[in-house]
Symmetry: C2
């Protein structure tokens, strides 16, 4: 919708048609856990704009409950809910097909959407909430990523005891470095009514619960699978578009695919890492929206580029804010970068102000140059999110730890310590860089 | 203390002597209002580190209650509390003499520190609190800057009715653009028990209160003068150091003054604006500390520079967070820069999340190039502070509005809207830049 809206804003007289498989457009997928928990009461609250905003006000021809089932050179074929098909010719095509949940091998048949759920679109939010309303005492969430954590908190808010099963060693294992993952795991383990099982995958889901790889089982009235997502590229493949190593559609900075007049945006497309310059898959809403904006601008004849993304991600669960931007130390090393990290544990306000919170912060940089590579934070207030965002801004400009030291963060006792944890981290890094620079 | 500590860390065997006029070192001047309000109960809580941290642990020879009264080529003369003087020779001198409160013409005699106060050091915090403990029903705070606002809130917390008198047109008039100053003024005017009188100076302070320039008067049991500060440069002048246009000591990026082996740091010294490249006076704690760190490093033979500061400033008063970095639109125009601004009023969380707050944000940029010049924000939560800090990071790297658009701020519904107000501001600016770029 971001791309369509942008085209229509710049080219009022162009025909813009949007096909949407579900009944919802402009929906907040990230809000699903908050609908499940009843923090967001109505499902309709998760719709950013009503359909009329796009159709009447913006002049976009939105065709909901209509799935594009075929695509070729200059045309698409779409199937309406009643089964009838329509063919539409295009001058320019934008693929914004998103991502779909991964269902682990052997578990696909267990997904019945009555007791065993995936989280794919708004309808799932409604069904999971209905299930919880009907009563559930024991829940298993498979997957300790962002969605798994958020769903676990949402289900726990109904009073059900929740077990999070994560195959790898800790929570958010593909986001955070091990030490941070472990720290988060310890916090979540400490939440009443929540258990965390790590290092074990799920081998099957049966009547009474979940069976783990080691043969042990966990009873469950409700199971939510949240083990990850994959870009939805079936249409892209039909068009023969080049896919990247991540499996998402390869695009340039202008969201152009390998085929002329075909663009890809959102969770279906890759972006370029501002840190490495290499393609990455960052299926995050804020990136998706910017991709849409850029594609729409370019299609309409304007100049826009998304030169890079830092893959900043965040959540707030069980009273902890988690945020990360750029690379973790482990990711940097895996890429062969000579990376180092400095850790700071600090208060988030002036020491003498009551009610300050805590932050555990890591800043990752290149050992030879001091160039910033990333940051991650856990914090008891929201400041960890923002401190990571400050690093995201510096990553955008390829800054180094000296820039971080110099960045003139404001200070007032109620809002931060006079030596901000970010500046302390920079100082530690500078001390280590010492003679090397 | 930052400079002294740094030298001692790098040069353990050097003799480092610190003279301090008061009995306190490493004190949190910015914390004074919070001691007055009793949020910080003990005055000693405002001491970052006890004296022994510096003397015993760091090996610094700190001589408190000893004022340097003369300085010459290679020596200082200091007077102890008992009146005895000592002379000390130095190889390197660091002036960290800070700033002193401005007392408006004609009001100096009224300052009795029993009923009429300035806020200069920790002792003032104690005296003002004693006065409030003794009972005060009506207070006048002269000056609507950061300190005036914070003192007004602190005094109001005792139940006294407070009138803030600001000579210029609104609160924080030299920090914020007029529209933002007016918005803040409206909020503060709405606080029960607080009045704001703008556009009128104080002509005298008499027994029963304050007399304004227009002849009207305001009753007061207690008057706090908070009309600004000036760099304390009497020693610098004795040494014949070059002062900048601001009146503070001119220094280079390494904190070196016009005289060899003499450094100046903190509120007594100028810094270089990262935005304009010109010297500016930014008497803020976080800048002062960095200056000390840089001077100490350089003195000890290391390499360090403070290439520029954004003069980021902030406060949280009466439930509003105020923050600013770089230039306001008015400041930019006064400097002859072809500047423009975009304003965004938005929520600070995903729209559907209950309990989100509000932000009013301005981003200032150069019209011809889109280069960022500054930002200011008022917000109901602390996110305005952090959004301004994100811009401070971008200013550090001389970023433009396209960089701001691209900065990959994390998104999660509980912490921010998916189109962050900063990104919305960037979009608005890009739209305006349109053909020009």
């Amino acid at each position: 919708m971001a791309a369509a809206s942008r085209v229509k804003r710049l080219r009022r007289d162009w025909d813009v048609v949007v096909y949407e498989r579900t009944q919802w457009v402009s929906f907040a997928l990230c809000g699903i856990p908050y609908h499940v928990s009843c923090m967001v009461k109505r499902l309709s609250d998760l719709i950013h704009y009503p359909l009329e905003e796009f159709t009447r006000r913006r002049g976009i021809d939105v065709r909901i409950e209509t799935e594009v089932v075929d695509v070729g050179d200059g045309y698409v074929v779409a199937r309406r809910r009643d089964g009838r098909e329509e063919r539409l010719e295009y001058d320019v095509l934008v693929l914004a097909t998103g991502a779909r949940p991964v269902v682990p091998r052997g578990l696909a048949e267990a997904v019945d959407q009555e007791r065993v759920f995936v989280v794919s679109h708004l309808g799932d939010a409604e069904r999971i909430r209905r299930r919880l309303e009907a009563g559930a005492e024991k829940a298993v969430v498979v997957g300790g990523g962002f969605l798994g954590l958020e769903m676990a908190e949402a289900i726990r808010s109904w009073g059900a005891r929740v077990t999070i099963v994560e195959k790898l060693g800790g929570l958010l294992p593909t986001v955070l470095d091990e030490e941070f993952s472990e720290h988060l795991t310890r916090i979540v383990v400490g939440v009443e009514g929540v258990e965390v099982v790590t290092g074990k995958g799920v081998s099957s889901i049966e009547g009474g619960g979940v069976v783990l790889e080691d043969g042990s089982s966990i009873e469950a009235d409700i199971v939510v699978l949240a083990v990850g997502r994959r870009p939805e590229t079936s249409l892209a493949e039909k068009l023969g578009l080049r896919l990247g190593r991540s499996g998402a559609v390869a695009v340039d900075e202008r969201m152009r695919t390998s085929r002329e007049n075909v663009y890809a945006v959102g969770d279906a497309a890759e972006a370029r890492s501002i840190v490495t310059g290499e393609p990455v898959w960052c299926p995050f809403a804020q990136v998706a929206n910017k991709m849409g904006y850029v594609a729409g601008t370019v299609i309409a004849g304007g100049d826009a580029r998304l030169r890079g993304v830092a893959c900043t991600s965040a959540t707030k669960v069980f009273g902890v804010t988690v945020a990360k931007t750029g690379l973790s130390l482990a990711e940097a090393k895996r890429l062969g970068i000579d990376a180092e990290a400095v850790d700071v544990e600090a208060g988030t306000k002036a020491r003498y102000i009551p009610g300050g919170s805590w932050i555990k912060l890591r800043v990752v940089y290149e050992a030879s140059t001091g160039r910033l590579l990333g940051a991650q934070a856990l914090s008891g207030d929201e400041s960890g999110f923002w401190r990571v965002n400050v690093v995201a801004a510096l990553l955008e400009k390829k800054a180094d730890v000296w820039d971080l030291f110099e960045t003139d963060l404001g200070y007032t006792p109620l809002l931060s310590p006079v030596w901000d944890p970010l500046v302390v981290a920079a100082r530690l890094a500078l001390r280590r860089l010492g003679g090397r620079r």
